[in-house]
């Protein structure tokens, strides 16, 4: 399938006849005159540049559409994308850190997330990843991502616990 570049098409004043739809099961669809296919959205730069460049991909993992700026889309499609992004971008947000302990070969984190208390484990050598935005990403053994949007806004006690893990 040809990849459509929305912005380029718009520059060339070509009419783009497609729509994106989002349903209650959290599915995103790409609809044009001929067909309706199930797609999903991937941020190209989820941490470094989260508001631009979205790849819309089909179930065989091929790109259907590359969107640099969602404002180039019609309102309906834009809403669909925003809903889909909200859904696909889910991860736990850490509000406070209660304890960080070491167990055999594991580091055990007890944190307060936006959904209440939660415990997760990382390998001892798996260091959190610092983002240039001042955020911090921690990925646990199972692969779940825990995100601290701004380390500087944590409570002092939490910052103290994180001391060894940030600069």
């Amino acid at each position: 399938m040809d990849v459509l570049n929305v912005d380029k098409l718009r520059d060339q004043n070509k009419i783009i006849e497609f729509k994106l739809e989002f349903n209650e099961h959290g599915q995103l669809f790409f609809v044009n005159k001929e067909k309706k296919i199930s797609v999903y959205i991937k941020k190209c730069f989820p941490w470094s540049n989260k508001d631009s460049f979205f790849s819309i991909r089909n179930q065989s993992d091929e790109e259907v559409l590359l969107i640099e700026d969602i404002n180039a889309l019609d309102e309906h499609s834009r809403d669909a994308i925003i809903s889909s992004l909200l859904a696909s971008g889910f991860c736990f947000i850490i509000n406070d850190i209660i304890t960080i302990k070491e167990d055999y070969e594991l580091r055990v984190w007890e944190v307060e997330t936006n959904q209440g208390m939660r415990q997760f484990q990382t390998e001892l050598m798996a260091w959190p990843r610092e983002l240039s935005s001042g955020g911090l990403l921690i990925q646990d053994l199972a692969g779940d991502i825990y995100y601290i949007p701004k380390v500087s806004e944590l409570k002092p006690s939490g910052k103290k616990l994180l001391w060894a893990f940030i600069d």
């Binding site: 099961h25 959290g26 989820p46 889910f90 055999y104 070969e105 209440g116 390998e123 991502i145 060894a164």
Partner: protein, 769 residues
């Protein structure tokens, strides 16, 4: 059972979720289900708005139950599996979504979950896919009920990271100490030595005090004649000499007994671990990195030696020393004694607390250090890229920055401990000052009273005071040792943990009781509906049946990942199949004695492994009693003799790691010579010629042709042309046996898998030329 218990406790310890399907839900499900049982289930922890929720998805033979707990009531939804025509999985940043679609490709149901549930959910998806595809699914893994399957899958990420053994930290310490049991007399002796040495160490300070009070002071007061004073001095000196000799004698007993004993314990452990390793099945080695296994046998047992030889004794003697000192001091003078003894626990706590607070510093320094080494392990292997992009300067700069921040952290550590120890010493010296402050006036009282009355019953005598001051100096070392005890125990137990994990792993391939050795072995192999799975869920072989007659050569063909190597693994009994039967000469493979069976087996792998040693050793490995003549003729048959003779040291050339480097084809021919010498009835060739050039392949092929004669041969080959003389070809795809027959038969099949493969290779070949 033990194993499941430990998995249950892992779930309870680390995951905030039930360790099994809730009982009330189970009852509820069984009320509506007839003639169905629970095949498997999974927890799903996110609702449609990505809020945490308690949801369960339970799979039976005909239906799926989806249950959500709302206000302690179960909300239940039932789906007929027959309505589902496809299952899909979407993945987001940190969650997955499982979708079920009907015939019209409409979503009839979806559920979200975090990656923590991904292992159990993917089993659910996998099983459902099978049921949807085949309209039925029989779980062949009957020894795994749904509960244990759930547990096993759920704790996988933790078990992978953590050495899993049964029991907690204290159990480990007890197990470590239990290693001493065979040497209990030596332990007793060594420990007695240590205890006596400690007690004897208390004597010199006491004698010093005595000399002052009983010799110097009376002599000064004119109560003793010089002769008697000298005589008393000599007696005391004799006492001191005896004490010193005794002390060093006990020290010698302690050091010698414990050091030697520690070596024995470490040796026993290494032997046991290595012995056990050899018994373990391949599945264990697949789940661990080689480096980690090696360090368990080496570095970890060494640390255990250190703990047993010195740690245990040092801690015990330090405790005895502290208690002995306190008792002696209180007995000498209870007021000063308490002044000295009471702060000790406090000081110990400060040392412990300091150690804990240093851990944070060490952690950060460690992180920075691994940043630095990452830099190295990135750029050294990638040096070509660095140079071609002309980035040397940037890399040097990057390294320098990281190097600087490492030093910053290390210096932080140095600042912290250099600040702490003088502070601690000052605390201890404050006690000394306290002793002087409270002690001296009483000593003066004593002397004043003594001078007036000649009586010694008042105040504190100078000798006792001197003993006191001397004893004070002896407090420092045991305090330090006990302060570091927790770190030492932690190190030793985590080493022990890793070692015990190996010992606790049960070998999966066992020689059954009553297994019989082979007699008059013909080499027939038959698979009857064999199902096999490496992980208990994903089937790698699906109902595979075939028969290989004695002396036949069979080719295994199929795309990579189709299960070819797996079939050979089952034939060699590196793994046992979960269901179906594997018959060797018509007998169940599990009823045959493993050693006698494997001695009839020869395996030539794609990347042959040569041990460190001479070529002769490597060939002889298969058959140590072989004569030199037999070895040479095996090498000749393997087309190896000529290149071996061209080496300066011929058969005595050292190969393997650190030895002479041979090319892949040369190593392959040595491994073929090894297989020929073994003279096996069943021969397995797994892509034996895949990694060599055409010229070498020809030579190897010749060698193989000689080797296969008169043996049952299972050959896997990348280039199909090499299987031309096979009696039969088995074609595998996705773990299923799609076609079997001679090459000519298979080429006749319209749209056959084999035919397609052959045509594809021809095209490829044609394009190349």
């Amino acid at each position: 059972m033990e194993v499941l218990k430990s998995k249950t406790s892992l779930v309870n310890k680390y995951y905030e979720q039930p360790d099994r399907l809730p009982k009330d839900l189970k009852e509820l499900i069984f009320k509506s289900w007839e003639k169905q049982n629970i095949l498997l289930y999974s927890f799903a922890d996110l609702d449609s708005h990505f809020q945490l929720a308690e949801q369960w998805i339970v799979v039976g033979q005909l239906q799926i139950v989806f249950a959500t707990r709302r206000n302690s009531k179960w909300e239940i939804k039932i789906l007929n599996i027959s309505e589902i025509s496809a299952t899909k999985e979407l993945s987001g940043l940190s969650y997955r979504k499982l979708l079920f679609e009907n015939q019209k490709a409409e979503v009839i149901f979806s559920v979200n979950y975090t990656l923590r549930q991904a292992t159990t959910m993917s089993s659910v998806k996998f099983v459902l896919e099978q049921m949807v595809d085949q309209k039925k699914y029989e779980l062949d893994f009957e020894n795994d009920d749904a509960d244990s399957l759930y547990l096993k899958q759920l704790v996988k990420p933790i078990e992978k990271a953590q050495a899993s053994i049964s029991g907690g930290q204290y159990d480990v310490v007890w197990r470590l100490l239990a290693l001493l049991r065979p040497y209990k007399y030596s332990v007793l002796l060594g420990m007695s030595g240590a205890v006596l040495m400690t007690l004897v160490s208390l004597v010199p300070a006491f004698l010093t005090g005595k000399i002052i009070d009983e010799v110097i002071k009376p002599f000064q007061a004119g109560q003793l004649t010089k002769d008697i004073a000298i005589k008393l001095t000599y007696i005391t000196l004799m006492g001191l000499i005896t004490v010193y000799i005794l002390r060093e004698f006990f020290a010698w007993i302690r050091l010698q007994k414990m050091a030697i004993l520690g070596e024995y314990v470490a040796r026993d452990l290494r032997d046991r671990v290595y012995n056990h390793l050899q018994k373990l099945s391949l599945s264990f080695f697949n789940s661990k990195q080689t480096g980690s296994i090696i360090s368990r046998v080496g570095a970890d047992t060494d640390r255990i030696w250190d703990f047993i030889a010195f740690g245990v004794v040092e801690v015990t003697t330090s405790i005895i020393m502290l208690m002995g000192l306190s008792v002696v001091l209180v007995a000498l003078d209870w007021r000063l004694g308490l002044l000295v003894s009471l702060p000790v626990p406090f000081i110990l706590f400060i040392i412990y607390w300091h150690g804990q607070s240093m851990q944070k510093l060490f952690l950060k320094a460690w992180r920075k250090w691994s940043d630095l080494t990452d830099c190295l392990s990135d750029t050294i292997p990638g040096i070509k890229v660095v140079k071609s992009f002309n980035k040397e300067k940037e890399e040097v700069q990057r390294f320098r920055l990281r190097n600087q921040s490492v030093v910053k952290e290390f210096n932080g550590i140095h600042k912290a401990w250099t600040r702490f120890w003088p502070f601690l010493m000052l605390t201890i010296q404050a006690i000394v000052i306290g002793v002087w402050t409270f002690g001296m006036p009483r000593v003066l009282d004593h002397i004043e009273y003594f001078n007036k009355t000649g009586n010694i019953e008042s105040g504190l005598s100078p000798g006792v005071f001197i003993s006191f001051v001397l004893y004070l100096g002896m407090f420092v070392q045991p305090i330090e040792i006990i302060g570091q005890m927790s770190r030492m125990i932690n190190r030793a137990t985590s080493s022990a943990h890793r070692v015990f994990e190996i010992l606790d792993t049960e070998p999966q391939i066992l020689n059954l009781k009553g297994a019989l050795p082979l007699e008059d072995f013909k080499g027939e192999v038959e698979f009857k509906n064999v199902n096999f799975s490496y992980d208990g869920v994903r089937k790698t072989l699906k109902s595979v049946s075939f028969k290989i007659n004695s002396g036949e050569m069979v080719g295994l063909v199929g795309p990579s990942g189709s299960g070819k190597t797996t079939i050979t693994n089952l034939i060699a009994r590196f793994y046992d199949a979960q269901s179906g039967e594997i018959l060797i000469d018509g007998k169940k493979i599990t009823s045959i004695d493993l050693n006698s069976y494997r001695s009839q087996m020869g395996i030539v792998l794609q990347d042959p492994y040569l041990f460190h040693g001479t070529i002769l050793d490597n060939i002889k490995y298969a058959h140590p009693e072989a004569t030199l003549k037999e070895i040479i003729s095996a090498a000749k048959a393997a087309n190896a003799h000529d290149f071996i003779c061209n080496l300066p040291q011929a058969y005595d050339t050292v190969v393997g790691e650190r030895g002479h480097t041979l090319s892949g084809g040369e190593r392959q021919r040595i491994s073929i010579a090894r297989a020929i010498l073994r003279n096996p009835k069943i021969l397995i060739l797994d892509e034996a010629t895949s990694s060599v050039d055409t010229e070498t392949e020809k030579k190897i092929q010749q060698a193989l042709d000689r080797l296969v004669k008169g043996r049952t041969t299972i050959a896997i080959a990348h280039r199909l042309s090499t299987l031309a003389q096979a009696n039969k070809i088995l074609v595998l795809k996705n773990g299923e046996l799609k076609e079997q027959g001679t090459s000519i038969d298979l080429m006749k099949l319209e749209n056959g898998v084999y035919k397609n493969l052959v045509n594809m290779q021809r095209e490829l070949h044609a394009n190349k030329v």
